[in-house]
Amino acid sequence: MVARAARDIQSGMTVNLGIGLPTQVIEHIAADMQVCLHSENGIAGIGPAQPYDAADRNLIDAGGAYVSPVAGTSYFDSAVSFALVRGGRLDLTMLGAFQVSMHGDLANWKIPGLFTPGAGGGMELAQKAKQVIVLTTHTDRKGRSKLVQECTLPLTARGCVARIFTDMAVIDVTPKGFALCEIAAGLTTDDVIKATDAPLAVPRGKIPTF
């Protein structure tokens, strides 16, 4: 799933990879790819993660991972970092999710009474990146679908998600709702339909696998 998601990153893009699964996408970006990775704590041009012994104590990404610079990296403050996001300079962000609705609504910051980490920069990323992709497990720990008709958890942003990568499928959010695009090797269309708590449009013919 993570490797498949990395293939959606195109040459020339400025990209923000959110905390959690999306952070792993960096490991699947080709070394010769022309791409600028941004992190909201104030860095543009993120290189590979650093092991403990090689880490610079002043150089982290927003998830707290120690990262390295690349040739041309810049550092800046939080106001500038979010000017970049809100100002429309971010081509793509990949975010985690608690729930995504068939209308593209995203919930990923608050499970009332249980776990409320806060949205961090998630609201700005979800609302203002030109393209928002979600990476998530298809179901939560209790087996409930994270893909739903309407989010029951507090929203991060409305109608923002264009595409969802899960361990089961690649699903687009269209004006008519969820549409199946690709399926994980070894699974059937019925498996995905059963695990999705909303209508899922399935195209005719053979569905590509990943």
């Binding site: 982290i60 980490p117 700005e124």
Partner: protein
């Protein structure tokens, strides 16, 4: 003519902070967090504080000491996912937590520092964070009024400073420090190194000295500043 010398001791600088004060603290995770100033505030035991900080650090670090010590009545923040104590205190009602979108927190602070009353934005307008906020229509688009956010004190960590309070930050340690260093009545900066006046190249200075009130040189970097082993 010579620029004023603002260097002082940790004890004198923190001694100005009294019970009930609002204190903004720089840092995003470890980089830029003024751990020594926070430790001095913990030693002093000042109570009923309103703390403004991007995050609540991690267990056993920085702001977590203030929480553990029961010194914080209210926390204005963007993300506390790495501090279980903060989430616990919030759920138990032992501390009020006000969440703010991260870039909006930065702009509210920047606005206060720039002498503006607030900003207009649509960030979070469809969410809980948009509830109860004044709406204004600009060019046909609905925007929310987000009030400027200043403080009585700002605690700042700089890599380098000079005695006048010119500050330079290292790597991703800038984060909230430059905005906060403009937005408090009394701005206290700790610095890893304080160089003589004239030794910081004017074009490399991130925070100009006139914004800063007190400069404290760190005699040593405690363990909290080091790379965190995970």
């Amino acid at each position: 003519m010579r620029l004023p010398d603002k260097t002082t001791t940790m004890r004198d600088a923190i001694g100005e902070i009294t019970d009930g004060a609002t204190v903004m603290i720089g840092g995003f995770g470890v980089p830029g967090t003024p751990f020594c100033l926070i430790d001095a505030l913990v030693q002093q035991g000042t109570k009923d504080l309103t703390i403004i900080k991007n995050d609540a650090n991690e267990s056993g670090m920085g702001v977590d000491h203030l929480l553990k010590n029961g010194q914080v009545a209210r926390l204005i923040t963007t993300h506390i996912g790495l501090n279980p104590r903060a989430i616990e205190m919030m759920n138990a009602g032992d501390m009020a937590v006000e969440f703010c979108a991260q870039g909006i927190l930065a702009e509210r602070i920047r606005a206060a520092g720039a002498g503006l009353a607030g900003i207009l934005t649509d960030i979070g307008i469809d969410t809980e964070l948009g509830e109860g906020k004044q709406r204004v229509s600009v060019g046909g688009h609905s925007q929310m009024v987000e009030a400027a956010l200043g403080a009585d004190f700002a605690l700042i960590h700089a890599g380098q400073a000079d005695p006048f309070g010119n500050l330079c930050y290292a790597g991703t340690a800038q984060n909230f420090n430059p905005a906060m260093a403009m937005a408090a009545n009394t701005v206290i900066a700790e610095a890893e190194v304080v160089r003589p006046l004239g030794q910081l190249a004017p074009n490399t200075i991130h925070t100009p000295g006139p914004f800063v009130d007190r400069v404290v040189e760190l005699t040593e970097l405690t363990e909290e500043y080091a790379v965190v082993r995970r």
